[in-house]
Symmetry: C3
Amino acid sequence: MALPEFETIRLDEMDNRVFELVLARPPANALSKQMAFELRQAASWLAGTGAARAVVLRGEGKVFFGGGDLAELSSGGDMTPSNLNEMTIDFHGAIHRLATMDAPVVTGVTGTAGGAGVSTVAASDLVVAGESARFVMAYTAAGLTPDGTSTFFLSRVVGLRRATEMVLTNRMLSATEALGWGLINRVVPDDVVVAEARALAAKLAEGPTHAYGGAKRLLIAGASSALAEAMERESYAIAQQSVHPEAVEGMDAFLNKRKPSF
Amino acid sequence: MALPEFETIRLDEMDNRVFELVLARPPANALSKQMAFELRQAASWLAGTGAARAVVLRGEGKVFFGGGDLAELSSGGDMTPSNLNEMTIDFHGAIHRLATMDAPVVTGVTGTAGGAGVSTVAASDLVVAGESARFVMAYTAAGLTPDGTSTFFLSRVVGLRRATEMVLTNRMLSATEALGWGLINRVVPDDVVVAEARALAAKLAEGPTHAYGGAKRLLIAGASSALAEAMERESYAIAQQSVHPEAVEGMDAFLNKRKPSF
Amino acid sequence: MALPEFETIRLDEMDNRVFELVLARPPANALSKQMAFELRQAASWLAGTGAARAVVLRGEGKVFFGGGDLAELSSGGDMTPSNLNEMTIDFHGAIHRLATMDAPVVTGVTGTAGGAGVSTVAASDLVVAGESARFVMAYTAAGLTPDGTSTFFLSRVVGLRRATEMVLTNRMLSATEALGWGLINRVVPDDVVVAEARALAAKLAEGPTHAYGGAKRLLIAGASSALAEAMERESYAIAQQSVHPEAVEGMDAFLNKRKPSF
């Protein structure tokens, strides 16, 4: 299967069905209309083909993802509310597919995650950050409201008080603070962020991909559902999953005290 | 009122309308179809009779609740998607009644809480754990998706990032980590877990049982409601509760600087 | 524009469109029917006129907000379920407008926040507390169920486990504990709480007021919305905001590396 090619991002196939999605608009990897469109195409390809069993998401160079490209967004560019609507539809479509597809998304953060970069972090499945990583919402600093699905994910990840503080004051979090608040899962030296994210993705790529997808979708749906609705959804999901080859293998391995081969 | 009797669990009446619900399928207290059915019956009895003013939930022996009985769930057993649907309906019915009935549920965890055991912890009102307690979701390790209402409760208790990590990586939390993440309320030496859970339940059994139930249901409903809906529900509840004998006594005791007798 | 005058609260205009809303029913600033009505009027005035660019909310004297006035609420007073319904409709109307209006609300807590006082803290945008501040839900201690929008905000701020503990056990949090749980944003010496809250409000009053309001409403709506709904709401909001003078100025300032003047 030929990999799609892009101008502002790269989609690379690594070993064992791990894919790497790289933001490649140096120096800030800022989100342009083109990049939003390409991210949506890449995410649709990953979600649609099922080729990946895990995805590493990272930025090219020293900055992870500096947020929206204000040069393009501002009146100096060709941006209008219509165009910005189009752009966020693309970007949100990308985030939604990454968040709900089967393959887990492990995000590696070096340098700054700003604005849409924090939104992307909040929406990722797992996040590894370097010691010098920084997280700042930044939207209101430019007179804008948040996007990137952050008003769904961020408060559910760090709590509504801290999400509000990040949005109103643009407080910049260090990697250690972000870990303490539960925004990220692990802090490592800067020069091993990519290696750690790849190692984690490689491990997840050996896991039950279909069950991972079901779990991701249950967690997201459950985060805005009534209790009774969440529990009925769980019942249906586990009943269907229980006869999937992954579950047959997983339960057999558990009962025979061996490592499962998913 | 005769207590119902079961094969896989025990329901015991302690002093002062504290009841103890004990998972009794050693060594792992694993959830079988029979146990799910009996848990639902016990929870319905507790919720329906109103006999209890507080409930201690614990496991017999060293393990709290090891999760689903995979020997029965796997293809080696007689489990089919239909049967698993039946089983989760029973189990979820039990959890729902425990979470929403008037009497607070104090869960005491010694040893491992795995899979449905973590779900049960997340859905409990208060949790006391021993120093050597361990918490691991475990579902995806067996190729399964989460159940036990965990996709409603777990992310609302520890945040969506940490819930996702527990579900995808099956990271095992120590008691200290679980306390830091807010999954449990208190860590005590292993040999006093049951005594501490009973002491806490005894204290709650002296409290305003009807107000506790109202508060539990408001918190669960509010966790998936719009702001305006939650506040209207609160208005109605406190207005009705204000003329309940508990409130008449509680407010009088406060005004006269004496201990209330609920 | 003449400021409205009240009996149980004060609404003062400070410099630079910062307003101060002061609970003024010493010694406990307890919520009476009159005070709930006046809070609603004040909040409606602030939300309706748009006069404020930031609001400081604090209590007169040593106690921030001791909760409902039980002397009035109890049977010794003239309170009936009908009257309590009226009172909570007013109080909730006040909280809802403060939480969703454009101007950020910075709450300064000295002494005790009890019952409705904790609800108000949970619903505030940012909270500064003194070292000796204390937070206790207190509702069930008086045989009552929670109100003040706490069953929406509190669990989203501190997590459902800790919210449940606060409601069922009336555990009293110190300022340090409240900070660790994310209930408040900052702890300072008692004698500088008001100064710190005012300084923070003054800084926010220089910010993009319209974007702040959009962000506040997105965060609250997103906290109970499905992902797809939250992201469509974000798209629309940022597109409309992008041509607002705040965004034009904010983006231009960013691109020209100067401080914006909102």
